[in-house]
Amino acid sequence: MSRSEWPLWEVFIRSKGGLDHKHCGSVHAPDAKMALQNARDVYTRRLEGVSIWVVRADQIHASDPGAKPELFDPAEDKIYRHPTFYTLPDEVNHM
């Protein structure tokens, strides 16, 4: 079996309770269960996580890199959208 027959899975790791799952890489695997085990073996060897998500890479729809000017550039001069003028209490972490 050539490895190209195995689908690619994107891996998301929650580093600790309360934090978001973050994309950390990808693995090849024949099915979802093995993808989770491969992700565990490849990406959590050094206590990186407490939870893993895997998603078939071909199930992710991405924005077009060529559409960057119309999608993202218009936000550049809208500084008033940033909540940077508020002081947050210390108890509010991870904002």
Binding site: V27, K33, Q37, N38, D41, V42
Partner: protein, 257 residues
């Protein structure tokens, strides 16, 4: 009385060495996959398992050295003993052959460890009980991963099924050794060190046979063949494995890094 105590102590050490050496030798075999896995993900998975087993062996060898009281540490026991001093199960030293045999052996051995660790949790030997408590989490994962591969390869393509069936026919006779009664088992059980391994056969089969059935594999008939690695009588493969494993400590005694 002294003779009885000495025999019990020897059985205790022998029992711990059997656990230690089996983990050590299988860990050494699995380490051979490093850089040779069928895919990078599985290369790392096998290496992780190897490291877990070597870690278990280190704790157990250190403990055996302390019980023995001859000033031998984990390195002395791992690298400076002769072949007939190793108490590992013969199945652990057999060549990897292919990915199917590697996965199936991991499955059969992890299923044995999964019988042992819970039974050792209330050992009269507190250190052994602690090592068992730490190791069981690792072994639970080894068993899951190996069982999943056993099913996928057994119930996979014609090629993977044929390789898995061949692996089962090769390895199955060596599992008789897991449960063959020995004097060490009887004494360890009497002293509360741990169960006689013969008492684990039914639980092991209950764990193993359903997975082999789902994997569509045909379990061979039992034969009179009985390997005796746990008594120090090893196969022709052991000497080669030790020559490689012990090379550095033999060539550079006391080398550290």
């Amino acid at each position: 009385m002294t003779t009885t105590t000495a025999a019990a102590d020897a059985a205790h050490i022998d029992y711990v060495l059997r656990l230690a050496d089996s983990a050590l030798i299988l860990g050494q075999r699995l380490a051979e996959w490093c850089g040779h896995g069928p895919v990078i993900e599985e290369d790392i998975a096998l290496t992780n398992t190897a490291l877990d087993l070597v870690g278990q062996a280190r704790l157990l060898l250190t403990h055996a050295g302390a019980l023995e009281g001859r000033d031998r540490d984990e390195d002395a026991l791992a690298f400076l003993r002769a072949e007939h001093d190793y108490r590992s199960l013969t199945i652990c030293e057999l060549p990897n052959e292919d990915f199917a045999r590697t996965c199936l052996r991991n499955f059969l051995f992890a299923a044995l460890q999964m019988q042992l660790w819970p039974a050792l949790a209330d050992s009269a030997d507190a250190q052994l009980a602690a090592i068992a408590g730490k190791s069981i989490k690792e072994t639970r994962y080894h068993l899951q991963h190996a069982a999943d591969w056993t099913v996928r390869l057994g119930d996979g393509t014609d090629e993977s099924h044929a390789r898995m069936q061949r692996a089962l026919e090769t390895l199955w006779p060596y599992t008789a050794e897991f449960f063959s009664p020995t004097a060490t088992d009887a004494q360890a059980q009497a002293a509360g060190v741990g169960p006689a391994w013969s008492s684990l056969a039914a639980g092991w089969e209950q764990a193993v046979l359903p997975v082999l059935e789902v994997a569509t594999l045909k379990v061979p008939e039992r034969t009179p063949f009985l390997s005796r690695g746990k008594e120090g009588r090893h196969s022709e493969h052991m000497g080669h494995l030790l020559a490689e494993m012990q090379y550095l400590q033999r060539a550079y005694p006391g080398a550290k890094w």
